[in-house]
Amino acid sequence: MPDIEKLIPPPLRRPAKPGEGNGNGNGNGNGNGVVDLRQPTEKNGSAATEELKGKLKDSPADVVGWVDERTGASNIVTALALRKVPKGTNWFYTLGSATMFAFICQALTGVFLAMYYTPSPVEAYASITYLTNEVFLGEFVRGMHKWGATVMIILIFMHMARTFFFGAYKYPRELNWVIGVVLIILTLVMGLTGYLLPFDQRSFWATEVANNITASGPFVGPYLADFLRAGPEIGATTIQRFYAIHMLLVPGLIIGLIGAHLFLVVKLGTTAPPWVHASKPKSLRRKDVG
């Protein structure tokens, strides 16, 4: 690396970051491209160490430093980790991240289910039977996906109830509430589309009713039901359509919206519980009471 650096004319060399190196770019004093720590007399000791750190950022040895110099990630990570959460933050504030964790569980178990599942009316049921009975831990992973859905639904509703009762949807977090409601609707869509995929009796007839319910809607209802069913009756095309919605369309939307949701949470901060107040100076407090 240092040899390449030498070929670059000094004005074009990478300047040192403030407080790093000797303020001289990567050009170094002894001219051989290697910092020799055995000669601390020539330089002040910490400056030499700094320079060595600068060197390491150009070599694969210091992976974190290398990545950080190119992304500035450490600033972001530090800012995220050390940002303050307001006074009074309690266990109710873990419901949102718990919901996200349940979603991550669903995504992971879903990937494993997709490795064995065949979205066709002839093979869907048999592939689930094979997965449940033959595949190592197959029933366990399918159980996690099935019950994980229940856990996620409970958590997302508890998270919404917390936000509602704490008044956390008010200024300046209105937009985040709207995103959250869309996420709840999408989660319910996941539940509905996932129900058909095992293609047992319960799936089939429940989807039939759900589709008829859609069709009973005004104006767009019948068209939407036709689109979902993708034919005169539930069959091959329906399963493939639900499969694509269940594992591509809606998860993509959910991931994007969770990103937006989290961005706003970090930007605006989480609320304090409504009963916690910043204590006011005594003179003001007396005026409040009187």
Partner: protein
């Protein structure tokens, strides 16, 4: 919220934040405990309750009651509460859509800057009402089984139709005599008086409204079913 109230909130929030603790390690520790708890619950539920596979989907029989996943029970039960057919679209589309719009727009019509629940009586009452209503409807849905037997006596020639009716999940949504659920579908005890035989056959064939179509049943079963229903008077 007017500008003054907004500024007051932001100022107070800034103070609360100054007094707070850093996200790492305090908040993340709670989140971590919660992650472990959620993972444990999912694993234990999977191990205890498993993932049983029902009988294979078969359009020619309805030996299984069409029932949604439990978190849709409240919507399904709504259909029983709003039973008249002209109210069905209200229950299937109207109320859910209204609820979604009300939820989405909540921050735009609730402009009261107060956050303490004791000072938001309308929000508190409607919030608790919605929770109780949803819990009650879910409870009803969880307990609404589907009987597979019809007690009323029939002549021998209609026995087969009675059996098909009982086993085809009709009673999940219809009441026949003492058996079955009163809704979402209309009562069938005297359906033979109200509808001619051909109309009954056609209803079974097309599946009117939200009812599933029974066109997939073998012709012999479908005929027996029609015969039995037309005899109810």
């Amino acid at each position: 919220m007017n500008r003054h109230e907004k500024e007051e909130y932001l100022r107070e929030y800034e103070q609360l934040k100054k007094k707070g603790k850093p996200f790492f390690p305090y908040a993340i520790a709670k989140d971590g405990v919660m992650f472990v708890l959620v993972a444990l619950i999912i694993v234990v539920m999977s191990l205890m309750l498993g993932a049983e596979q029902g009988p294979k989907a078969d359009p020619t029989t309805t030996s299984y009651v069409p029932r949604p996943e439990w978190y849709f029970f409240f919507l399904f039960e709504l259909l029983k509460v709003l039973k008249p057919p002209w109210l069905t679209p209200v229950a299937t589309i109207g109320i859910p859509t209204l609820c979604m719009v009300l939820l989405l727009l909540l921050p735009f019509y609730d402009r009261n800057p107060e956050r303490r629940l004791t000072r938001r009586p309308i929000a508190a009452i409607s919030g608790f009402f919605v929770i109780i209503a949803m819990a009650y409807l879910t409870f009803l849905g969880a307990n609404a089984g589907s009987p597979t037997e019809i007690e009323a006596k029939v002549p021998a020639s209609l026995e087969e139709g009675k059996l098909v009716t009982a086993q085809s999940g009709c009673l999940a949504c219809h009441q026949i005599g003492e058996n079955g659920n009163n809704g979402p579908g209309p009562e069938l005890t005297e359906i033979g008086l109200r509808l001619p035989r051909a109309t009954i056959a056609r209803s079974l064939y097309i599946g009117p409204g939200i009812m599933p179509s029974y066109a997939g049943l073998p012709k012999k079963k479908l005929d027996a079913l029609t015969e039995y229903l037309a005899s109810l008077r």
